[in-house]
Symmetry: C2
């Protein structure tokens, strides 16, 4: 029997996974990885934590759990896979089933035949088209080389000021890493908010948290130019004219699929310029598969093809490709929920499915709610979580969850992601049987509570108002009767100071006379997390007021400045 | 309009929740809680943490998040609900819509009419029918009074030795609490293992962990008698004759639904002696609803009615009952997955759905796998998790997950519970889009990895053997060729010592000559977590050995003593 030759181009996440899976499916196949970089199987999502000093041994990014570096010797001995590092694939001859590659050290070229080819060439950073991007002191955080450079910056301790350009996942993680290195950071984002997988209101809570760590955050202000002297960066200039003096700039303004190789060979690219693949990870050429950051896949909720450059998906797709190149198209990867999470200093931020904004853009009649609550009983020292749950109004179908705060975000995102995979509704979530014990969650989990409140909203039992809408109304001078329903002691410690009246919930039945005589007056009730605010609103409605709203998430989800 | 009178019997979890929800649905209803205990809305799942000293203020168990004790004054002022404490409901006259109750302090009796009645009378402890249960020094941990008693025991510091009878959730939590109080504990279980929601192999890992904390664990040995002198407990005697000297025994041998009141009134009870309710929480009397630990509900996987006394479900059921007594049968609670989690010293243990044993007992053709892996990348300091995933062989439908270890158990259980709610399959789970970032999970989450291995097992790509089956074979003298595929350094640090040969995976291709000449010989491969063990098995199969198995979960899931 002729040995099958499998060639994998790309050695970071999807590539090695595809190669290893192919090996397990066929111990006799001839499997080759072609990798441009000097390293293999880099844990690239770990770069910010190496830069920030969470760990010090660079090898931890490229070694097995038992401490063996995944170099070509390892791949050969342990996996029986040839790995050619510092080797760039320069052309694919689909007709003759050949690739051409060049050794980047020697310049030598060679051709390698394949029966099946797997493209796992990843993505490359988008660099803003502004002057000065070639100055010394500007980097991305996309490669081991970038990580090594920034770690040196940290260890040398000479850089005082840095600008991180781009408020996405990598930008925010880099911001934290450099802040931990003692560098003063300004995070610059051209859009009105950071972390676009969140809706504006939750993103603002994170911006506030980042600012509380003595890092600056600038939004809605793109970089106009990188300024320098003698070829070295000295400042970043923004569109509004501001100049931010700095010795270092990290550009994290997104990535695009790296598909030049396949495009030259005539493979079909999609809207995002990623390879078009079917659910078997097969490209438009049946002998060529692709996986990881170089492909586009369906968003499972909208059906739209999206570029979803996540390390976990790269591994899953690589596994599917690796199986299918050996066994034929058995394994499937159906799509993504674009689930993501990141650590942001003492907070985490995560999302799965659609934000409210994206749901509306996709044509859904979306309804959402913001809730806030601790992630454990008070006596176990719970930490705050702010959730935003999005559903389709008519069907109650869940569309997405966002979650931010110092509490256990990743658990709620993982749980909600699985609910989305199961096409569950708000009603399903409202009675979900989740694991409860005081060390791990409140008796009614934050996610279930959000479903309860959203159910109240959908059935019209509760009328909510978002912090953003309330602020806009107040800024427009609208007359709204604001009731803070907490206790006097709580009010002394913390309050919005936006013209509210303090009427503790327990006193409300006796103090209805203080409410507006006009039963159509707009009233907004709230408390710390708006649970008592909701009870107050129910009470007022029962007494005839017809326009009573609850401030969603209460004071804890209010992203604007407070009096106290 | 006549005010509706809602009477709720029971003031712990389901009762107050039903009353509060009813209030929010109808601000004019007359709502009364009848509560036998002096306290209301006790966070009873928190008792072990109060006893163990996680917190010191008893009021935290009965107060709102803002520190207000939920006493009758609170219920009246804040909720407009009358709460009669120290008041026992003694009879229900269904025809006349009246209950009789007695004030336990004054002895006075009164009757209260109702339009709708909610029974939330909870469960009561099962006390083993053995001599000596009335001795001083024997308690349960079911009430605030019990918690107060055990907390005093802790604070006084006089008790040296205690026996916890029963290795369920409460027994295990009590064991930890008293151990933290400096008391030497023996945990006694009549069944062959503790925590029956786990299969034997995972339960044994927990027993080992408890023993490592200097607490004794005795299984398969019921209590025969409580022994005493002068009316005080002096020892617990087991069936095998062992006497365990102790000054304190906590009986935690389960609970049964407390349904005498409704049974006397002719309400229908089920197999578990819990009230039979429909999914609206309506009993056999349309004007009487029931919720919480006094009812039975369907297991969502088997359809069987079960008694599921969990605090979170009590709240959810109470909410459904509270809504339905006001609005009619709109809200539904469909059933339980019997999801649970508990802290066990530095480990946690959790389960959702069916264990393998229960799945088989319910008639499923169940297939399972045990996997072990850290819950984060090594460079982020991951902690071990051992998972057991159970599915139906033919359909791949997920049936249950168990998880134990020092890692983040509750997240995996919550995620798997939602997968069960969505009727997902192993294939769905294998490509689930969970949130990945190094501070929160490995690139391939433990749960997804378990799905991958189970998929390999179902498709016949991997033949697994459980630690228990391997041990039984070895004990029976069967000849098995055992290959530990780790490195020599790892082998020096830790090893099973059950007759294995050390052949590191990277050397296996060159050392095939050391394997049995008989290609039908039984071979078992493993490593620390059996990932390399699986790769080794694939390699051996490719070289013609026909009976190669992988030890599931590797050394980390081996519950028996190791050589090192």
């Amino acid at each position: 029997m002729k040995r099958k030759r499998i060639v994998v181009i790309g050695g970071s996440a999807a590539g090695p996974k595809a190669a290893a899976k192919a090996r397990r499916m066929d111990q006799h196949a001839d499997i080759i990885i072609v990798q441009k970089e000097p390293d293999l199987s880099m844990a690239s999502c770990g770069y910010p934590y190496y830069v920030g000093g969470t760990f010090d041994d660079r090898n931890e990014l490229i070694c097995t759990p038992t401490g063996v570096v995944r170099d070509p010797q390892f791949f050969m001995k342990v996996k029986g896979i040839r790995a050619l590092t510092r080797t760039e694939a320069t052309a694919v001859d689909r007709k003759r089933h050949l690739i051409t590659c060049r050794n980047l050290d020697t310049g030598e070229e060679e051709t390698i035949g394949y029966d099946k080819l797997v493209l796992a060439t990843g993505a490359r950073p988008i660099i803003p088209p502004v002057p000065g991007t070639d100055l010394e002191g500007i980097t991305t955080l996309q490669s081991m080389r970038d990580a090594d450079f920034l770690r040196r910056v940290r260890d040398e301790g000479k850089v005082r000021n840095a600008v991180v350009v781009g408020g996405g996942l990598i930008g925010v993680e880099t911001c934290e890493a450099l802040n931990l290195a003692g560098i003063h950071i300004t995070l610059v984002e051209m859009l009105p908010q950071i972390l676009m997988f969140l809706d504006w209101d939750l993103a603002k809570l994170l911006e506030n948290h980042i600012r509380s760590k003595d890092a600056h955050v600038v939004t809605e202000n793109p970089v106009a130019a990188f300024l320098g002297e003698n070829g070295r960066l000295t400042a970043v200039k923004l569109r509004n004219g501001t100049e931010l003096p700095c010795e270092l700039a990290v550009v994290a303004t997104g990535v695009r699929p790296n598909t030049d190789l396949g495009a030259s060979a005539g493979l079909t690219l999609g809207r995002t310029r990623g390879y078009v693949v079917d659910e078997h990870m097969q490209t438009s050429d049946p002998d060529i598969y692709a996986a990881g950051d170089c492909i586009e896949v369906p968003n499972l909720i909208t059906g739209d093809k999206v570029h979803a450059p996540y390390g976990d998906l790269a591994n899953l797709q690589g596994r599917v490709a690796g199986q299918n190149v050996i066994l034929g198209n058995q394994a499937r990867f159906r799509g993504t929920l674009q689930t993501g999470v990141c650590k942001v200093f003492d907070y985490a931020a995560g999302a799965t499915g659609l934000s409210e904004q994206r749901a509306r853009a996709a044509g859904f009649d979306a309804v959402s709610v913001v809730t806030a609550a601790p992630d454990k009983p008070g006596f176990m020292g719970g930490n705050l979580l702010v959730l935003k749950l999005v559903a389709e109004r008519g069907t109650g179908r869940l569309l997405g969850l966002q979650c931010v705060g110092p509490g256990d975000v990743s658990k709620r995102i993982a749980t909600a992601a699985m609910a989305l995979h199961g096409n569950l509704t708000v009603a399903d979530l409202a009675n979900a049987d989740l694991p409860y014990a005081p060390p791990f969650s409140p008796a009614i989990d934050n996610l279930i509570m959000a479903a309860h409140v959203l159910e109240n909203k959908i059935t019209g039992r509760m009328k909510g108002i978002s912090s953003r809408d309330l602020k806009a109304k107040l800024d427009a001078g609208e007359k709204i009767f604001l009731v803070d329903t907490r206790g006097a002691d709580e009010y002394e410690q913390m309050r919005l100071g936006i013209g509210e009246v303090l009427i503790p919930l327990g006193a409300l039945r006796d103090r209805l006379g203080e409410l507006p005589a006009d039963k159509d007056a707009e009233i907004v009730c709230y408390c710390k997390i708006s649970l008592r605010g909701y009870e107050a609103a129910s009470l007022l409605e029962a007494h005839g007021w017809r326009n009573v709203k609850v401030l969603e998430g209460g004071i804890m989800a209010w992203p604007f400045p407070r009096e106290k």
